[in-house]
């Protein structure tokens, strides 16, 4: 049923518009949002793999040069897209569920932003058209700013404005890079551009081609929050509501991998492309983890850790072999789940204590045992302790870098994992095990049930991927074999 492919974008988009138009009817909005959110993970699972041409314009063969042209905006749907869209759909469902149970009166515009962001990342994953991706990238940036600005945390407006100002430098630079590619090849379809590069129609050593790489790469740095954008990315995570932050980090990860896969298909022949990606990934790992070690606000700490983990994904893709790219994409999938679990879990602690400073917390294990055990397991999964899912992807990354002849990178990756572990042990001790400070009032405050339910579901997925990594790695490996 290939008709379902465009529905993956259209359903959340239409739901967003309808909810914001009819948000006066509170109960109807709640029911409608819930039903749409349930549909989101089901549609990609029910759909078949295939291509969808908008407007029905099938690819044409130019008889003179015998080159295929794709006149329509093309959506390609394979196993990789299926697993990532199903995961983002599941996450959106859980976040909307947490939001709906938290407030009696729901806000239409906030639900609009959540669904708009989901539609945007889904389109970015599916599309085979670089400008279409850019448009949804801008829509995603607006949705992210809205989610941050809608939160009730202090200084969220300032952070949203900072993100927007930086974004209005990053996005036009990326547009300029797309313009350079358009000037070289006369097309915005990635398959056409890649074919032109690989057939030698474009001079891969010309300065224009290299410039387009640099400009799109800068836009990618902004989209994925690698240095120099790691401070703003961790900042917007810490200023959004916990469930919003869980969704924001998944938007970041998915926009990162969708842009980098497009860049990989176009620029894989240039050795400097891989050098750039590995350089910025290593910088992100070092800076993210070392700054996370010195934070006292635990939301900010998770934000920096999330940025540091992004370095692993970049590392896997930068090494450029089939095995390493598989490992990087598997790490991306794991990070979406684990970081969402951490944000929601620490958000539950904020709900129960109204405190974000680790120095003023303590002794929470006796009051919230379920949350603390689940947070501990999630932290261990992020640090890469067997048999959890983070272990499998990090082991694959270490093996991949060893087999590429870069033992330094494997040592670095193991060191970053150990430092992540230290961050968790330190935070877990100060928040849960240390004696309770006298001025901390914990009586009569409960963690919302919906949050515990959400964490349990995410934890099941973490353990499942940890025990049976072959569920996804074999499919991703097939996909990677197709683009190499």
């Amino acid at each position: 049923m290939n008709e379902l492919i465009p529905l993956m974008v259209i359903v959340p988009l239409m739901a967003a518009l309808l909810i914001s138009a009819f948000s006066r009817f509170n109960t109807a909005t709640k029911v409608f949002a819930f039903v749409v959110a349930i549909c989101l993970p089901i549609i990609p699972i029910a759909s078949n793999y295939g291509l969808h041409y908008f407007g029905g314009y099938a690819p044409m063969l130019d008889n003179v040069t015998s080159v295929m042209y794709h006149p329509a905006i093309t959506y390609s749907f394979t196993f990789l897209q299926q697993i990532f869209i199903a995961m983002i759909g599941l996450l959106t469902f859980l976040v909307v569920f947490v939001y709906l149970t938290k407030y009696r009166k729901v806000s239409g515009p906030y639900l609009f932003l959540l669904f708009l962001g989901t539609a945007a990342v889904t389109a970015m994953l599916l599309t085979d058209d670089i400008f279409h991706m850019f448009v949804f990238f801008e829509i995603l940036a607006l949705a992210q700013v809205g989610i941050v600005a809608a939160s009730s945390i202090d200084y969220s407006y300032e952070m949203a404005l900072k993100y927007m100002v930086l974004g209005s430098i990053g996005s036009p630079i990326m547009l300029l890079g797309i313009g350079f590619l358009l000037a070289l090849t006369g097309s915005v379809n990635v398959t056409d551009i890649a074919a032109a590069v690989h057939n030698g129609l474009v001079d891969a050593t010309s300065p224009v081609f290299l410039m387009s790489l640099g400009l799109i790469f800068f836009g990618w740095l902004y989209a994925s929050g690698l240095p120099p954008f790691h401070t703003i990315k961790s900042g917007i995570y810490s200023k959004a509501e916990p469930h919003g932050a869980a969704l924001l980090q998944s938007f970041t990860v998915i926009s990162m991998i969708s842009i980098v896969l497009i860049m990989f298909r176009i620029y894989a022949t240039l050795p400097i492309f891989e050098v750039l990606i590995v350089f910025f990934s290593i910088l992100a790992m070092i800076l993210g983890v070392s700054l996370a070690l010195t934070q006292t606000d635990f939301r900010r700490m998770i934000g920096f850790l999330a940025v540091g983990e992004l370095g692993f994904i970049g590392l896997g893709i930068g090494l450029g072999t089939n095995f390493s790219i598989t490992a990087g994409l598997f790490q991306a999938l794991n990070e979406i789940i684990i970081t969402a679990l951490l944000f929601i879990g620490f958000g539950a602690i904020v709900e129960a204590t109204n405190e974000v400073d680790t120095r003023k917390l303590g002794g929470l294990l006796a009051y919230h045992p379920k949350v603390s055990i689940m947070l501990l397991i999630a932290g261990l999964a992020m640090a890469g302790v067997p048999p959890l899912s983070g272990f499998q992807s990090k082991l694959m990354l270490v093996q991949a870098s060893l087999s590429c002849g870069f033992p330094e990178i494997s040592i670095l990756a193991i060191m970053v994992s150990i430092a992540t572990f230290v961050v968790f042990v330190k935070t877990f001790y100060t928040m849960f095990l240390k004696p309770k400070p006298n001025d901390l009032d914990l009586e009569g405050k409960e963690v919302p049930r919906a949050m515990i339910f959400t964490m349990a579901i995410l934890l099941i997925i973490v353990v499942l991927f940890g025990v049976y990594p072959d569920l996804v790695t074999s499919g991703i490996s097939n996909f990677v074999g197709g683009i190499l």
Binding site: F131, D154, A160, M164, S168, P172, L176, A183, G186
Partner: protein
């Protein structure tokens, strides 16, 4: 008419450089936003210049035109379609930024970036 294209490219480079300069050196947040929006305009101008064909015609097929003559002489319309989207995105981004500035002015009473958008920890001390 290669001179036209060269002049256009220089203009777009100048707009982008003005935008990047204003991003670093201008303190007033509204002027900074105006300056940054010039980057977007420069990128738009560059992409339109890609589709331009010296001595060509507007890419609209009028009745009575010869199709093969039109195909060789019309400008390339794909970049124009992209720029249309991009202009609207730029305007909406600008509107959101100005709205946030209006909200923040009520809290700080100044438009200076150094006060309004400095480090969060310093702002906490400033407000206390």
């Amino acid at each position: 008419m290669a001179q036209t294209q060269l002049a256009i490219l220089l203009t777009s480079v100048a707009l982008i450089v003005i935008g990047l300069y204003s991003a670093i050196f201008i303190d007033n947040i509204i002027k900074k936003i105006i300056g940054i929006s010039f980057i977007e305009e420069g990128a738009n101008l560059f992409i339109v210049a890609i589709g331009y064909k010296a001595g060509g015609v507007v890419p609209i097929l009028m009745p009575g035109m010869d199709t093969s003559w039109f195909a060789t002489n019309a400008a390339y319309p794909l970049p124009f379609g992209l720029v249309l989207t991009s202009i609207v995105i730029g305007a909406s981004t600008l509107a959101v930024m100005l709205a946030l500035v209006m909200v923040l002015y009520r809290r700080y009473g100044t438009l200076s970036t150094k006060v309004m958008l400095s480090d969060t920890a310093k702002q906490e001390e400033y407000n206390e």
